[in-house]
Assembly symmetry: C2
Amino acid sequence: MSDLQKPEKNPEMKIVTAAVIVIGDEILSGRTKDKNMLYMAERLNEIGVQLREARIIPDVEAEIVDAVNACRKKYDYVFTTGGIGPTHDDITANAIAAAFNVGIDHHPEAMDILTRHYQTSGIEFNDARKRMARIPDGASLVDNPVSKAPGFQIENVIVMAGVPIIMQAMFEGFADQIHGGAKMLSRTLGVNMPEGKVAAQLGALQEKYPNVSMGSYPYFKQGDVGTNLVFRSIDEGDLNRSFQELSDQLKKEGVELAETT
Amino acid sequence: MSDLQKPEKNPEMKIVTAAVIVIGDEILSGRTKDKNMLYMAERLNEIGVQLREARIIPDVEAEIVDAVNACRKKYDYVFTTGGIGPTHDDITANAIAAAFNVGIDHHPEAMDILTRHYQTSGIEFNDARKRMARIPDGASLVDNPVSKAPGFQIENVIVMAGVPIIMQAMFEGFADQIHGGAKMLSRTLGVNMPEGKVAAQLGALQEKYPNVSMGSYPYFKQGDVGTNLVFRSIDEGDLNRSFQELSDQLKKEGVELAETT
């Protein structure tokens, strides 16, 4: 595929990128299915941010530090999920402080939020729960409307909970602070033939339209072999032109086509 | 969590690690749900290999080279999925050759397999399809019983297809060549209370049993708040002792317990 990350003169065509870092042994062991990566892939796309990488890493401080430091230099935004609860295995806040080489302490605003929350609900605000108010120095809080314990943002890194309903609520509360760029547009052409048959044509078209990314995804359904040809671009004109060109060529050859999503 | 990666005198207790690298724009865009990571997480665990990291990266050569080179030095095995088909966006074989700094050419055995396959099925063995026989120098083939185009192994990197049914068939054919080590054993205790309440006890127990990794996973089901406490270890004795100790403590306190999987 062509690399679409080029500087553009038109600010609307600015490419904004992100990485997602899923922190949690339970995902790597196969015990829990990650739902956060897919959620963010779709939502970031809608906001005009391209998810360029996802990493799933264990609850090990050095691994978190390395992944966060690699990704925060490379992408406009880094979203982490997991490891900000009250138990000993929740080490994300500490690891982020280490990654940024800053201190970490109970954050006054986070302490206020949690004190009120536990007073209202009549639950003891014990030391373990106070761990959830520990926020790296210089970070700002990310609201948690579900269970109150906040996430946080430090520079371009946004730290969220791992439980999907909480992560999604945090993300949606934070979404209007994300500065999106060009939206990646997409069209999909389903053809009733194996990808090896359309490969040469598709390759030639890819060379002609370098700023449209053309992907070929074969499928095998009940003995049926077909291919989804996915065209993606931030340039609507080229997207439609290239899509039409291949459609016309294949129609002439008598290939059965279906535009799918 | 405690880091379990310690050298062990008993070879049965050897820790064998792996990373999975999922290559594909379609996963990052949210268009396709990855099923390969979860499949391998579970199967590797059964074989005595611990999945320590998963990365999802785009179809960009430099990204593939960087991810493969980072992971192959760090883990015993690296499994990649995706990007070995006949179309221009299938660049994994080239990228792996670049990562190992070796040449790449049509592999005689792969050419034989594909020549026979396309002869039998009466399909043209065109140049695009011949791309699927391009294998980095020094690699050995990984059998593809589904659609014939082989994967390959080069040193500790195993390159497989992205389509789940093909990936799974490749993996299963290759599985007996994987040298597993200690099996990670796991027990899960479900408690009907929020994790903040059990956190102190769990933390103390974790300190007492450093070679058992204790994870706490809250859940919220129809207004019900509970926590799954997951104990994992390669040491069955310590696993059972620590699990029993917490169970006994909580039972005494009148907490409702359920051992789940």
